[in-house]
Amino acid sequence: MLRHILLVSIAALLLAGLWLALKPAPPSAVPPAPAAPRLFAFSIAGGQASGPAVMKVQQGDTVRLRVVSDSADHLHLHGYELAAELQPGTPLTLKFVAAHSGRFELELHHSHASLGNLEVYPRP
């Protein structure tokens, strides 16, 4: 019994010690969320999409997604469940606060095409 207690204590100490040794120190001052929204623009023409493949933001940032397409489609940001109809030639803007951390696909539903992924990192 004593032996088990000893081993469990060693394991707990090892795990805690390693955690403290390896976890990077948090920044001394947490950087505030930028006041200006983070803008990512996409354009789709002739079946070719251009825009960032990965949109990296921090949790709490305000994000603006601007999409313009030459054909009608249905834009969907997975996870955040933001959806909107795209009209040909009319720019569409989605503005939202990236409240949830994670990786979310921005997809055109009608053409089954992925425009990119929004990666929302938790604030340290």
Partner: protein, 493 residues
């Protein structure tokens, strides 16, 4: 802008999808992709180092501890008053009926209902509630699938009308062993990762699988087919070895349901055939491969072609030859799926051989491999769980809404059609922590159980401990690889 919970999607022409680079990839992930970010690098290092350190603590548990080789204890519950009362409610009969109805509904909804994978019940029910949720249920509560298997129930139903049907026309060839189950499991993983199933094609696959099951039962009989060939039966039976509840439908009296230590089932049985060992290794390697193929590293290895091999074979840069190369890429990944358990087997064999050499054991490596195979099951389960569990939260919970409108026709049968439409998104910090701690827990369980098996196999405790040093390294390697995959940057599309 308010978050919109509903959207209409009609299957549009796929012409644009060809022109948009990576559209094929996107389509493959457009149903229920995990909302997961790569684990921070320091957590991966932490997990790997902690796994190594904890392994030695587990070894310390056994050194000089005397006879740890006791039979596993269990507490029979089958005759308890509570179980008898539950039996009177005939819950199992109701569950059997629901199981067959769920299979028929999944087939019907895919054939008749909406083509939108999110609004048709069959995608969420089959891929998430059944293939993920029921697997984890089995690992906790035992092998209820043995009695709830809808294909078995269907075959038994046919058997009631036509008695000779379930007896089989041929004796099951012993050399076939579990190879049919492994082949069907590989086909399932192919469909999951590369098949890009939609409600309709999923229904077709389920229909084909139902016919395969009926034909198999007709040929080799009900008992052999569900013992060796129906891969979900084999998969669930293996996972149930981990469960603290042991359910044995063929036992009578109190032994029908027993409470035992989690993982104790692993010490009571051993893999009976090489093909079952490969099946188990495929449970591990297919999850690892699914994780790996999502990473930027895997994607770039082919499409950015740092070695120049693809360009040499294709005649031009792979990115430029995308439409032409795409089917070849599917073939390339398919070959990796088939090869993956053999790679894991080679490693397993190598480290067991090392253990044999260290202990001078007369037992052949092939026998050692069968004895130690089940000790990998905890690692298999936590690998699987950490990779997929967030899907149950993000998409699995939507089953509540889908049950009210299974065909996506706008019904609201139970008044739940408009509930839980938005996914549950756990905080990434929490997701990463659960991943690291689950993987460490599985690792420690595997190391511990392998050591217990070694004590059963080797004459002296010294030999048992010595045999476990290479085994321990192998498990650290598997655990480290699992964490490494979770920490890799994902492909950007």
């Amino acid at each position: 802008m308010p978050a919109s919970a509903t959207w209409k999607s009609t299957p549009g022409p796929k012409l644009a999808a060809l022109a948009l680079f990576s559209a094929g990839e996107a389509a493959a992930h457009s149903f229920a992709q995990p909302y997961q970010l790569p684990m921070p690098y320091w957590m991966y290092i932490y997990g790997a180092v902690a796994a190594l350190a904890l392994s030695f603590v587990v070894v310390g548990l056994f050194v000089g501890a005397g006879a740890a080789n006791q039979p596993a204890q269990s507490l029979p519950l089958g005759d308890s008053r509570a179980i008898k009362a539950l039996r009177r409610l005939r819950l199992l009969h109701i569950a059997k009926l629901l199981s067959v109805m769920a299979l028929l509904l999944c087939i019907a909804s895919g054939l008749l209902g909406t083509r939108d994978p999110y609004r048709n019940i069959n995608m969420t029910f089959f891929w998430l509630v059944f293939a993920l949720g029921f697997s984890y249920f089995t690992a906790l509560f035992g092998n209820w699938y043995a009695v709830l298997n809808p294909w078995k129930l269907l075959a038994e139903g046919v058997g009631k009308c036509c008695r000779n049907f379930i007896r089989g026309r041929f004796r099951y060839p012993p050399q076939l062993a579990y190879w049919p189950a492994l082949a069907l499991y590989m086909a399932f993983i192919w469909l999951e990762l590369l098949g890009n199933t939609r409600p309709f094609s999923l229904s077709v696959a389920l229909l084909v699988y139902s016919l395969i099951n009926l034909a198999g039962v007709y040929l080799v009989g009900l008992r052999s087919w569900f013992q060796y060939c129906e891969f979900f039966a084999v998969f669930m039976r293996l996972l149930a070895l981990l469960a603290p509840l042991r359910y044995r439908p063929d036992a009578t009296g109190p032994q029908r349901l027993c409470l035992r230590w989690p993982g104790a089932g692993i010490l009571e049985e051993r893999a009976e055939h090489f093909s079952l060992l490969l099946f188990l290794l495929f449970m591990l390697s297919s999850t690892a491969f699914d994780g790996l193929r999502e990473t930027a590293l895997w994607f770039n290895l082919f499409w950015k072609d740092p070695t120049g091999i693809v360009e040499w074979l294709a005649g031009k840069q792979p990115m430029l030859a995308y439409p032409w190369l795409r089917p070849w890429y599917v073939l390339y990944e398919s070959l990796w799926i088939v090869a993956s358990p053999f790679l894991y087997l080679a490693l397993f064999w190598l480290f067991l051989g090392l253990g044999k050499w260290l202990t001078r054991s007369p037992m052949p490596v092939s026998q050692l491999a069968l004895h130690f195979a089940y000790s990998l099951l905890p690692i298999v389960l936590v690998y699987h769980f950490t990779h997929y569990y967030t899907l149950l939260l993000s998409q699995g919970v939507k089953i509540r809404a889908l049950i009210s409108d299974p065909f996506g026709w706008g019904w609201d049968l139970f008044g739940t059609a408009h509930t839980l439409r938005a996914p549950l998104l756990p905080d990434m910090g929490l997701v990463w922590n659960i991943q690291v701690w689950m993987i460490l827990l599985g690792h420690v369980a595997s190391v511990y159980l392998a050591h217990r098996i070694a004590l059963q196999l080797f004459p002296s405790q010294r030999q048992a401990t010595l045999s476990q040093l290479p085994m321990l390294m192998l498990m650290v390697l598997f655990t480290g690889a699992g964490l490494w995959i979770l920490a890799q940057p994902l492909q950007g599309n």
